[in-house]
């Protein structure tokens, strides 16, 4: 838990309109010639990058789009000559005409160099690194050394790579952080005092410190909140225009790539499937993979039509398939694809695609050879859903975490200071049987705590959770029990446990790596003493696997989690949750760790579960677009409080709360033409320790008035749709027009916390 004070940070108003940087020059910054990278592992040789060739011109930004395992990070490591020793490189990469990766100097080959050659190489690399090429590593905002100030860590770059005097270094550091959109006051701060967005900006400042020719940004916005992400994207766009010569942006997020790149390379199984300008990629994709990828993900802008993920899983790169690597998953596949490796062809100037039928695909002339999976029923709320008697109802559900509860906390915390985390406070939620309720919020909003409190894996601090213990097969009736005060060893709580299950965020961690699928799915049956008869157990397990579309179940029972793809793992987790036929299922960010192509499939599964099994699902997510796709109603949470709740279509189209409005506005669209415009929000979410007495959102709210800070806002209902605010929509509009609208300052002062 960070203890940073909640300080609004720089926000640029208005966000720069989408403008192309000056046209790329002919100067080639980077030339990659048939570059391959292989890793020797215990299981065999993994082909991570497979004969990639492209050029990067000065003042150009290349986006590399790919799922996990597509080799995009390996490629960037190869460019930085940072490959581990078990790597073997073929081909060549040239930076400004100098070799930075080939079979002699990359990976384990370095060991074979003679001493003098190695010294020369290391001199060359220290010259190129950071001054020539700098990199923003994935998640590096969390890699700051916690015991040094930000200034010291950025200044280190200058100390290592230049001989400047101290004062000069200081000046340059100040300029660097200003360029990255930070107030120089952050330089005196320690990493834990900064929010995630500020840290990421500091990392970018570090990367830009020596004005390198090329910046490689690996997933620069992953792990940031939507609002911060939108802002960072805008800032990077601006930087790209003014400071950076050329840039490689690596991401799995189509939206982010669409915003930042001039050209996009779509990678799959270590290859570039398609390489074209960003507009071409989005408007006229010429590769089935690109096409499927763009279509596979729910978009906040797109209507709630059924989406289809890409079936199957990425190939095993230890034994890469012959022919096109995408062939097993491609809906336009032909015999030729499995036999013949498609050679990248330039179908129009600057547009390359590795597909035998590129032109046909682009023109939409080609009919799918593989029929699409059965169409899902239209995504609508089942009739009369909201009339059914409630399954779960919470009354002022509250969960506080007392930081002093531990021995260390009580010994060392300052007396009198409030050290209570208001993780969930006063949440009123009603869930009908067979409903899918989405809980949406940024990280730190308490949505996960709410989910766990609902399941009573964490005990609530206050309030009620009324759960209806329905009789088998009956919609209504049954005893309604408040499960909060139940004894942990009691019969009724056990029964509740049987009726409530959870799907966790990380499918790689939620399955015991030592167990086969049979054991994993059997677990709840053992826990509830229902595994006495092996025949019954087996049939239950098979049924559960079948209900999550892992068919035939026999193929999965004796496999280990590591043999499955992320999507399959998450389905196994779902099967484990379903084997007890629970009434209530909490899915905690179930798709956030999945590859883009697999997400749609899992979302569809959730919907099918509701239809086929009548399961009630609470879908917890930070991704409002996916919530829109699956959920009947959405609860938006902010700092532990549910601030808006309503039917999902209505909530997305007509958000009532200022926060919801900003949130929806900030979601990047997978289209180069997206412009979030002026985000009506300030700063970042902060923490739930020092919360305001009044509206939780008041500190970031541009509509803030004097009473917001002190008086808790009332609930304002619009039919089934309500929100917590002092003002009606008309009042909000009036505030805006009256000019009482608080425009976020162009550069808000950063004050280092005491």
């Amino acid at each position: 838990m960070t203890v940073a004070v909640d300080i609004p940070e720089v926000s640029r108003v208005p966000l720069p309109s989408r403008a192309r940087p000056s046209a790329p020059s002919a100067e080639k910054v980077l030339e990659i010639r048939s570059l391959s990278v292989q890793f020797g592992t215990e299981d065999g040789t993994v082909l991570a990058v497979d004969r990639i060739s492209f050029d990067l011109h000065a003042r150009e930004t290349l986006g590399i789009l790919g799922e996990s395992g597509s080799g995009k990070t390996t490629l960037s490591l190869a460019l930085m000559t940072l490959l581990p020793e078990n790597a073997h490189v073929e081909g060549q990469a040239l930076f400004s005409g100098e070799v930075i990766a080939d079979a002699q100097i990359s990976g384990g080959a370095i060991r074979k160099l003679k001493r003098r050659e190695r010294k020369g190489l290391s001199q060359k690399l220290s010259r190129i690194r950071w001054r020539g090429i700098s990199m923003v590593f994935q998640g590096s905002q969390n890699a700051f050394n916690p015991v040094y100030t930000i200034e010291k860590q950025i200044a280190e770059v200058f100390q290592i790579h230049t001989d400047l005097p101290k004062q000069e270094i200081h000046d340059r550091v100040v300029r660097a952080v200003q360029r990255a959109g930070l107030d120089p006051a952050v330089l005196k701060a320690y990493p834990h005092e900064l929010s995630g967005g500020m840290k990421q900006r500091a990392v970018i400042a570090m990367a830009l410190a020596l004005t390198p020719k090329l910046v490689i940004a690996d997933e620069p916005t992953t792990g940031l909140d939507v609002v911060t992400q939108a802002r960072l994207i805008a800032e990077l766009k601006e930087l790209r225009q003014t400071r950076i010569q050329s840039m490689i942006v690596i991401s799995h997020d189509i939206g982010v790539i669409a915003q930042l790149a001039d050209r996009v390379a779509v990678m799959y199984a270590g290859r570039i499937m398609e390489l074209a300008s960003v507009d071409e990629i989005y408007s006229r994709p010429a590769n089935p993979y690109t096409k499927a990828l763009i279509e596979s993900y729910p978009s906040i802008a797109r209507a709630r039509t059924g989406i289809q993920g890409i079936p199957g899983t990425p190939p095993d790169m230890i034994h890469p398939p012959t022919g096109c690597p995408f062939a097993p998953r491609c809906s336009y596949v032909e015999e030729r694809c499995r036999r013949e490796d498609p050679i990248p062809q330039e179908i129009s100037p600057g547009h390359w695609s590795a597909c035998h039928f590129a032109l046909d695909i682009q023109a939409g002339r080609r009919a799918p050879t593989v029929p699409p999976p059965e169409a899902l029923p239209p995504v609508t709320m089942p009739d009369g859903l909201l009339d059914r008697p409630l399954l779960v109802e919470t009354k002022d559900l509250t969960k506080f975490f007392d930081l002093r509860a531990s021995a260390g906390g009580s010994l060392f915390s300052r007396p009198g200071s409030s050290r209570v985390v208001h993780a969930v406070e006063g949440v009123n939620l009603d869930i009908h049987p067979s409903e899918i309720v989405g809980i949406v919020g940024e990280s730190g909003s308490g949505k996960t705590t709410l989910g766990r409190t609902l399941l009573r894996t964490i005990d609530a601090t206050g309030g009620e959770i009324r759960f209806r213990f329905r009789e088998e097969g009956k919609e209504s009736g049954g005893e309604v029990v408040d499960i909060v005060p139940l004894k942990s060893s009691g019969r009724q709580l056990r029964e509740f446990r049987r009726r409530s299950q959870m799907i966790f965020q990380d499918p790689y961690d939620s399955l015991d790596p030592n167990q086969i699928i049979y054991d994993i799915v059997e677990e709840p049956l053992i826990g509830h003493h229902m595994a006495a008869n092996p025949d019954v157990t087996l049939s239950r397990i098979q049924e559960a696997l079948r209900s999550v579309r892992l068919t035939p179940p026999e193929n999965y029972l004796d496999r280990y989690p590591h043999e499955l793809s992320g999507g399959e793992r998450q389905r196994v987790a779902a099967a484990r949750a379903l084997v007890l036929k629970p009434d209530l299922l909490i899915a905690d960010e179930p798709i956030s760790m999945l590859d883009v192509s697999l997400r749609a499939g899992f979302l569809n599964l959730l919907r099918q579960m509701r239809v086929e099994l009548g399961t009630t699902i609470v879908y917890v997510t930070h991704d409002i677009a996916s919530a829109r796709y699956v959920a009947d109603r959405i609860l938006v949470m902010y700092l532990g409080v549910g601030i808006e709740f309503g039917p999902s279509e209505e909530l997305i189209r007509e958000p009532l709360h200022p926060y919801t409005k900003a949130l929806i506005q900030a979601v990047p669209l997978p289209s180069p033409t997206w412009n979030p415009g002026n985000l009506e929000i300030m700063g970042e979410i902060g923490n739930a320790i020092n919360v305001s007495k009044g509206c939780r959102f008041s500190r970031r709210c541009p509509y803030r008035q004097s009473q917001c800070e002190d008086v808790p806002p009332p609930r304002k209902a619009h039919g089934a749709h309500w929100y917590l605010c002092h003002f009606t929509q008309e009042e909000l509009l009036a505030i805006r027009q009256k000019g009482g609208f608080m425009i976020p300052p162009a550069s808000s002062g950063f004050a280092a916390p005491p």
């Binding site: 215990e42 959870m502 966790f504 990380d506 677990e523 053992i526 004796d558």
Partner: protein, 761 residues
């Protein structure tokens, strides 16, 4: 298989498949493990240790602690002198027997050796006039006529008293050394040596006189003998007593007896030695060649015709007794078999001049089985003492007056010790010959100080046998090292230098060796495969006489057992504690964790010593103490692991699934800890073996359990053992080191399995 779901057979199939999968994964882990250099070395080391452990019951030849190397292997006489003689003392291939004489009342000795050409050397033993310890004097070179045969030097007489008296004021000691030559003529030459000088440190020196020639009746058939006896050459009296004895009686103290062959038969003659003159001759009645005669009785007072002296002659199967005063035959007895010349006439030490007891004359008779008879000195009455299979090689008795306490009869392969008058030899009295020592030879020597019979064997080995036999009959052995090509019959002398009896030999013809009759413990013995007892000492013995090899091999089992037992305890306790602290984590767990930390932070060895001394050093206690002291280290590490696993989502998932704590710990926690547990088990085994060894080394744990550390315990007192007895110290040191290293290597290899980041390197 898809159609009929839910059959029990299918269920079993999945279980089996899972088992197979587990095997496959273990195999993969094994590949990674074996792929690491450390793992490979560790694995083969462990295989080596395991093989040795399995073979250890076969290879443990002796009980590690109760077996003590028998004295015949581990005790030996200490060499006190090894004097290089200035010539070769060999006649007919055999070194001549040395002769010793006391030269002072304090017991200083001179040992003489003779050569074929008549050269004589004297080796002084002790602070005497002119004889510093071990000093060799070439005393005499008489220039015998060509073709002479030289008999061994015989020291037997005080010289004439006039010489004695003239030197009186200077406190003389004076002796006669007789060198004898035997020409084919009927003469022999006697060469007296005058040995004079002040008693005590000074420059007394020997001087030789010209040889005197004596005409004898016929040719000599045996070396001449003097009237000196075993006791009479020991001057138990001082010069004044001597002088009064001589002056009052006017006696001539030294006589020489010869047996000669003349045309009429064999003659026994007596001569007076100084000046050399004939006294009498008698004709021997028998036809067999007589052996050298033997004189009994006090030689300085041989009154003619007195009954307490005798000259005994063995001739074929006849034994005759003559009166030395007048040469008259007292008695002659015919025996059932020829008298064995090698055995000769054996009379107990004190009876040789006191002549008081009856039945103290022992003879060995030829034949197989041979017999030993005793004879009455005054009447000649013969009694058979015993019969031994294989014939008689030698006879000796203890030296006490009267009938001897012990009569030792030696057959070629057995020594019989007859205890009591006329005891009959039976197998219980017999002592077999130690292995590889040939056959017994010659008469044993009796050491009255230690009550030892010292017998010699054909391989040059001398063995001291406790006359009372007892449980450890062989007290020591004496094998000159290197074994000489030839060795003279041994002689018991008094080594004044060392203050005890010593066995003297001439070995290889030119070295005079003296060995103390008091054996010393040779342990630790070096590695030895051919020992007198037949035991094999692959790694020698330790200072207590235990077989190092047996201890070493038996330690394999114990080190494994200790290691496994303690490691099992450590893992069990630490897993339980770690799970309690890490998983349950309530206030009681906090208390336990604090206690664990306290225990962890206490210095291990000190704690080990303290706890071990409090609870007592029984084996089980020691194991418990080791477990008690060692588990916190593992537990502290495991707590972190348990917490880390607990924080993983699948644990929460299991809780949501309704799994009980026990179910979670068993189904999730334990399997995910297994590789780490294997790692810790490996470390703990090595550590426990070391810790136990440490306790044994320090003497805190019982030493009844053979372990390598226990074997090293004596090093604590004397670390020079590492140099003095490398065969003993180094094998356990190396084995213990390798044992620990094996597990360290194994755990390094496992580390690569557990810790994939190490693998890439």
């Amino acid at each position: 298989m898809a159609s009929t779901e839910g059959s029990a057979a299918e269920y079993r199939t999945y279980r089996e498949k899972r088992l197979r999968d587990r095997v496959r994964r273990w195999r993969k882990m094994w590949r990674i493990y074996y792929g690491s250099r450390y793992g490979k070395i560790g694995f083969w080391l462990l295989i080596g240790f395991a093989v040795m452990t399995l073979l250890s019951p076969i290879l443990t030849f002796h009980d590690p602690y109760t077996f003590i190397a028998p004295r015949e292997d581990s005790w030996s006489a200490t060499q006190e002198l090894g004097a290089q003689l200035p010539y070769s003392a060999v006649v007919n291939g055999m070194p001549l027997e040395p002769t010793a004489v006391p030269i002072t009342s304090a017991g200083s000795y001179v040992v003489y050796t003779t050569t074929a050409d008549g050269n004589v050397s004297a080796v002084g033993l002790g602070a005497t006039p002119s004889t510093a310890a071990g000093e060799i004097f070439h005393v005499f070179s008489p220039n015998w006529a060509a073709g002479s045969t030289v008999f061994a030097a015989s020291v037997f007489a005080l010289a004439n008293y006039t010489t004695f008296q003239s030197a009186f004021s200077f406190d003389y000691s004076e002796y006669l050394l007789e060198g004898a030559t035997h020409a084919n003529s009927s003469t022999i030459d006697f060469a007296p040596i005058h040995w004079s000088g002040p008693q005590g440190p000074g420059d007394g020196s020997p001087s030789a006189y010209d040889a005197e020639t004596l005409t004898i009746p016929g040719t000599l058939v045996a070396p001449p003998v003097s009237s000196s006896t075993a006791t009479s050459i020991i001057p138990s009296w001082g010069p004044f007593a001597q002088s009064s004895a001589y002056t009052s009686g006017g006696l001539k103290a030294a006589y020489v007896y010869t047996v000669t062959r003349s045309a009429s038969g064999f003659n026994l003659s007596e001569f007076y030695a100084m000046p050399l003159q004939w006294v009498w001759s008698v004709h021997l009645t028998g036809t067999a060649v007589p052996e050298a005669p033997q004189y009994l009785g006090s030689y300085y007072a041989p009154p003619a015709g007195t009954e307490d002296t005798a000259v005994l002659v063995a001739q074929g199967s006849t034994l005759s007794s003559y009166n030395p005063g007048n040469g008259k035959l007292r008695w002659a007895e015919n025996l059932s078999a020829p008298i064995l010349p090698d055995v000769g006439i054996v009379v107990p030490f004190l009876d040789q001049d006191s002549f008081s007891a009856a039945d103290v004359l022992f003879l060995g008779l030829a034949g197989s089985p041979g017999s030993v008879v005793d004879a009455n000195l005054t009447s000649g009455a013969i009694t058979t003492v015993t019969t031994v299979p294989g014939g008689v090689d030698g006879v000796a008795t203890s030296g006490d007056a009267g009938y001897p306490t012990y009569v030792c009869v030696v057959s070629p392969t057995t020594v019989y010790m007859l205890n009591g008058p006329k005891a009959v030899a039976n197998s219980a009295d017999g002592l077999g010959l130690p292995q590889g020592s040939g056959t017994y030879e010659t008469d044993p020597l009796y050491d009255q100080n230690s009550n030892l019979m010292i017998v010699s064997t054909s391989t040059g080995l001398s063995i001291a046998i406790n006359a009372a036999l007892g449980t450890d009959p062989i007290q020591w052995k004496l094998a000159p090292n290197p074994l000489p090509s030839a060795i003279s019959p041994p002689l018991l002398v008094y080594n004044a230098l060392k203050g005890g009896l010593a066995v003297a030999f001439v070995t290889s013809g030119s070295i005079l060796d003296l060995y103390s009759t008091v054996g010393t413990d040779d342990n630790p013995l070096p590695p030895e495969f051919h020992t007198p007892s037949g035991n094999i000492y692959v790694f020698g013995t330790n200072s207590a006489g235990n077989d190092v090899w047996s201890q070493f091999v038996a330690s394999f089992v114990w080190d494994w057992e200790i290691g496994l037992a303690v490691a099992a305890g450590i893992i069990l306790v630490s897993v339980l504690v770690a799970m309690f602290i890490g998983y349950v984590g309530n206030w009681a767990a906090a208390v336990v964790e604090t206690l664990t930390l306290v225990l962890f932070l206490l210095p291990g060895l000190a704690l080990l010593i303290v706890v071990a001394s409090i609870v007592g050093a029984s084996f089980v206690n020691t194991l418990l103490v080791l477990t008690f002291v060692s588990w916190p280290f593992t537990a502290i590490t495991l707590i972190g692991v348990v917490r880390q696993i607990k924080s993983r989502t699948f644990i929460e998932a299991a809780r949501v699934s309704g799994a009980s704590t026990v179910q979670i710990l068993r189904r999730h926690m334990l399997p995910n800890m297994t590789p780490l547990l294997a790692y810790f088990t490996a470390l703990s085994i090595g550590g426990a073996a070391t810790a136990f060894s440490t306790l044994q080394f320090l003497g805190i744990a019982q030493l009844t359990i053979p372990t390598w550390g226990g074997m090293l315990q004596p090093m604590l007192d004397n670390f020079y053992f590492a140099l003095e007895a490398p065969w003993w110290i180094w094998p356990p040191t190396i084995a213990l080191t390798m044992f620990v290293f094996a597990f360290v290597f194994v755990s390094r290899g496992m580390d690569e399995v557990v810790n994939p980041r190490l693998r890439a390197r």
